[in-house]
């Protein structure tokens, strides 16, 4: 093999092991897309047949998707062991979502022996890859002391990372942490800011909480119209507590204030929000 061919071969192999083969090679990328189109049509066996040679050639995206097909029983019987095997290969090749799913498998102990150390290790790697779900889960592991010593400060640090990246549940959690001084210095103002961010994204529990902050003027300027708007929005999503608060608050407001709150609720559209 000539030196330049050897070099090309080595570069391709390196790309494959870094999980980038499907991107680095246009032909394979096209094949991967054909598999995805088959998947979208519900032709799962077809997708599996397209992705398998790609996975064998080193595509971590194909490995991950094959794992998901086995895990969910799409086109094949549910087989957790096979799913974990494929996710393991994809994770070793640097696929962040595979790391996250693998961590879950180690926590569940389904298809693989339960192992919190390994679960933590994969979750941490996925979190450092920027996966917000993994960052949030790591925070919760520290909060409940699962596989690690309970540590509210570390819990808050991981959850805050996910919150800053825009994960609504993490933002809501940070709101509660600042409200209670749990793992962070207590700050009603910061609590309100985080609740508001999650509420703006459409998270009903946060909408209920920010409604209460506005009603009490706690960490944010008192504003009963805004309070009613948020209670109404939370209630529309089935939050029974917010519905009761909305009913009670309506009795305190003038017709103009009620109309304004209704207009604001009707024109509300969830959008990406954060605090920083």
């Amino acid at each position: 093999m000539p030196a330049d061919t050897k070099l090309t071969h080595r570069i391709l192999l390196a790309a494959a092991f870094a999980g980038g083969l499907s991107v680095a090679n246009p032909a394979l990328a096209q094949d991967f897309s054909a598999g995805w189109e088959a998947y979208q049509r519900g032709e799962f066996i077809n997708a599996l047949n397209i992705w398998t040679p790609l996975a064998e050639a080193g595509s971590s995206k194909a490995m991950f998707n094959i794992g998901a097909l086995h895990d969910e029983g799409r086109g094949v019987p549910v087989d957790r062991k096979k799913a974990i095997e494929w996710w393991g290969r994809a994770a070793e090749a640097g696929h962040a979502q595979a790391m996250h799913n693998l961590a879950l498998a180690y926590i569940e102990g389904d298809g693989v022996e339960q192992n919190y150390d390994r679960a933590y290790g994969w979750l941490e790697r996925a979190a450092y890859h920027g996966l917000v779900r993994s960052q949030y889960s790591l925070g919760k592991m520290y909060e409940y002391g699962l596989g690690v010593d309970t540590n509210e400060i570390r819990a808050a640090l991981w959850i805050e990372r996910a919150a800053i990246a825009g994960f609504d549940r993490a933002q809501y959690n940070m709101g509660k942490r600042y409200r209670d001084g749990n793992g962070v210095d207590q700050s009603l103002e910061m609590a309100a800011r985080w609740f508001l961010a999650a509420a703006r994204q459409g998270y009903s529990k946060a909408q209920n909480h920010i409604g209460t902050r506005y009603l009490r003027g706690e960490g944010i300027a008192l504003d009963k119209i805004e309070a009613l708007k948020w209670f109404t929005l939370a209630a529309e999503q089935g939050h029974s507590g917010a519905a009761k608060k909305a009913e009670k608050l309506k009795a305190e407001l003038s017709a103009e204030q009620l109309a304004e709150a209704v207009t604001r609720a009707e024109t509300f559209e969830p959008r990406r929000a954060t605090v920083y």
Partner: protein
Amino acid sequence: MPRMLTAIFALFLMPATVWAQTPPDEASAFIEGLGTRAVEVLQDQTISLEEREAKLRGIVADSFEVQEIGRFVLDKAWGRANEEERSEYLDLFADYVLQTYTKRLGGYSGQTLNIQDSKVYRERLALVSTSIEQQGAEATKVDWLVRKKDGAIKILDVVIDGKSMTLTQKREFASIIAREDIGGLLQLLRLKVSKYSAQG
């Protein structure tokens, strides 16, 4: 199966809420309608699989008594859980159940749902027996335990080849709670609903 279901019926019959009987003909029409709606959505190739499954999730959410099943599945741990834990658990359980059923149904490939029987069960409930058939494969026997309450029929349990999904879930959760208490179960559910599916 009868003994297995008795435990479930006993629980769902306990609340003081007054509800009507569940007429078997209405129950079977409900299940048949559910199957028809699901197939219509799943056969729509004009939208992506994610969109089809999101629509299906809405149908499943409307058809199952998810919150009540969630409380039943948690069993005695419900009494020990604080308000915050109960609230988070019910949210996560609903997400998990809807996601599970949706993904299972999302793999639709031409199966047909045939109603075989529908009868009154324990006075107020109905049990609809169906068979899910697919060419070249053995039929799956699926029983649906349903209840009419406040004028609406909802599913309380699905029994696949004699295996109650609700009781299976309850046993699985009980072993996690025994090991890790409610915190461990919440973390597991959080992770389960955060699991990633195939990506494009």
